[in-house]
Symmetry: C2
Subunit: 208 residues, 2 copies
């Protein structure tokens, strides 16, 4: 309460800062190794601390993982906001959206395979389910902002429910990620053209 100036921060803030610092180290490790092969010692090795410190800031390994997942969400959710707000035509939005998809696929593949890993693990481990369900809903909203804005710019109503639109685009993205990681160079171009072909189908037929 008192003394929280620019330099000096409250102990609670510092505590949270350390948790975030550990979360970032953990996310790096998780993105490299995947959920199953990531140990607390390996996470600590990728940070500037020793392995015991994790239990000072997190009660559990699971608490750390869930914290990481939620922390990661905050970075994801605004990814396409610029695409939505900056586009002035349906075609322009589509191009920008596809380009952003390709960019995120190329630059953040480890984070995305981690997401798919965690989502799949939640089918086996109930403790992950709540966080995963919440993020999945957030991602669906994110996609829907793109699709509904696309419909608005095209002056045509949407022809698909938000959940279906998300599932379908997610399927394309996941396939592209798989191909990209497997070393197929055509995966990036492929996702772009597939998205260009698919998005118009999400709108009601144009009044011709």
């Amino acid at each position: 309460m008192a003394g929280t100036q620019t330099v000096r921060r409250s102990p609670a803030d510092k505590h949270d800062a350390r948790r975030n610092q550990l979360a970032e180290s953990a996310l790096t490790t998780l993105g490299e190794l995947g959920y199953a092969r990531t140990s607390l010692r390996e996470i600590a090795n990728n940070s500037e601390f020793s392995h015991g410190v994790v239990h000072y800031y997190f009660h559990d390994k699971l608490e750390l993982i869930v914290y990481c997942v939620r922390y990661y969400k905050a970075q994801c959710v605004t990814r396409y906001d610029a695409v939505v707000s900056d586009s002035t035509s349906a075609e322009g939005l589509l191009d920008a959206f596809a380009a952003k998809l390709v960019e995120t696929l190329r630059d953040e593949a480890p984070m995305h395979r981690l997401w798919y890993d965690l989502r799949t693990q939640s089918m086996f481990e109930e403790s992950l389910r709540e966080a995963v369900t919440m993020i999945d809903a957030t991602l669906q909203e994110m996609i829907w902002r793109v699709v509904s804005r696309y419909a608005e710019l095209a002056d045509r109503p949407t022809a698909m429910a938000p959940s279906a639109a998300y599932a379908v685009l997610d399927g394309l993205f996941q396939q592209a990620l798989l191909g990209h990681i497997a070393g197929q160079p055509e995966a990036l171009d492929s996702i772009a053209s597939q998205v260009h072909g698919l998005m118009p189908l999400m709108l009601a037929p144009a009044p011709s």
Copy 2:
């Protein structure tokens, strides 16, 4: 070569039979626990053998897993063949296909979450990649047989590449599986109606 009658089988056949028997025990365990949490001892517990026998029939844990994945494929690949061959109209095929999707989702959820688990793990573990890529291609062909037959019956050309059609339907299926396992009762009805809405979009617009 000699003496292979109805009753007596060659040692090589018996060897293969044991491998398949172990593969089935392994698949049961993998479907319950997932790739990461499945140990060789647990697999052996779900069979009538002890944990050491695995190393008699398989060199590695990984060799067992890959063998399982390939073994599992043989059961998958013909799943929708009856749908394709028995349908006489586009609407009939669509209904049968959607019903089969719901049935497989309801009755074989563990096997499918295992498939998604292994496919995701292949993004981290290269040794799984070859088998996964091969199965993915086989599944894509399976889906394409459905879609192209659907187009044939509807007397309209397809408007989507095989890979896109597979990715899109796979996305819907995965979302439904996730919902179903998370205990959402509406997941089964939802996938049926979503597929009904999506499949017509895979064909070129009807000449009206």
